[in-house]
Symmetry: C2
Subunit: 172 residues, 2 copies
Amino acid sequence: MYYQLISQCAQALKNLEICLDKAEQHAAAKKFDADVLMTSRLAPDMKDFIYQVQSACDYVKAAAAWLSGQTPPKHEDNEQTIDEVRARIRKTVAFAESVKEAQYAEASERKVSLSWAPRGKTIGGEDYLLQITIPNVYFHIVMAYALLRHNGVDIGKMDFLGPINWIDAGPD
Amino acid sequence: MYYQLISQCAQALKNLEICLDKAEQHAAAKKFDADVLMTSRLAPDMKDFIYQVQSACDYVKAAAAWLSGQTPPKHEDNEQTIDEVRARIRKTVAFAESVKEAQYAEASERKVSLSWAPRGKTIGGEDYLLQITIPNVYFHIVMAYALLRHNGVDIGKMDFLGPINWIDAGPD
């Protein structure tokens, strides 16, 4: 399920673009610069909106790369505007989508080294996906969503969830 | 990976208990009633802290039940205090932990009906887990975390992530 789970994380990033559209509409209606939202925070000692998106992107990018045996492409953290944030999301999604299902064939046997791991420690592929990638991707995406919602942007849970593969229930 | 993914969602709920401990410590230090935090919101037209926890619990409980061929136990939404919220988390985790790995054997062939699905639609087990359960569980847990953080509780990302299965990196 590596491919499916990482694809869903990339989809969650794409869904954030809808939230950015609505942030721009809100800013236009209220006549303020949408980029003001990019430095918003929920607490003074917490990272801002741009960081939340950068971090979500990096966890998706890293998982797609390490679990398919690649070194992640380097993306500089220099975004300042909503358009630049959108570009960061798009290049991350493009990289994640470049990795095909077969490339994750050995994902569960891989070990992943994290800069913030305890000294001399690493983590196996499955635990990396379940305990690091998924929680961190959603943490930062939901925090970005929370920042926009807290600032009055008219977004809802369905924007966050994005497309859902409903199927016909059939008789009974 | 159904068992592993649902276990990780249950673990994320458990981690929230650490955040509740810190919320109580913060309230004691600042001399306010910790239950005040239970009705906090990030926006006036958004659900409060208690709802966020109830909802996260219900998505975990529903996934553990439906994907193992069971009807979810009924948990009334009547929590008002931090102790009651803690109890809700504990009974949810206890139910999720009662489901053994073998019980998910047919999870991918199951279809799950959701009260809010479009008319006549249902969803397959894998999409239910990836597109409904995981995003919703993390959405509501991170929102609960964001509410505490916004209100000054001294919690950090490691509280949210909880235990991580680090392994020895070995030579080189």
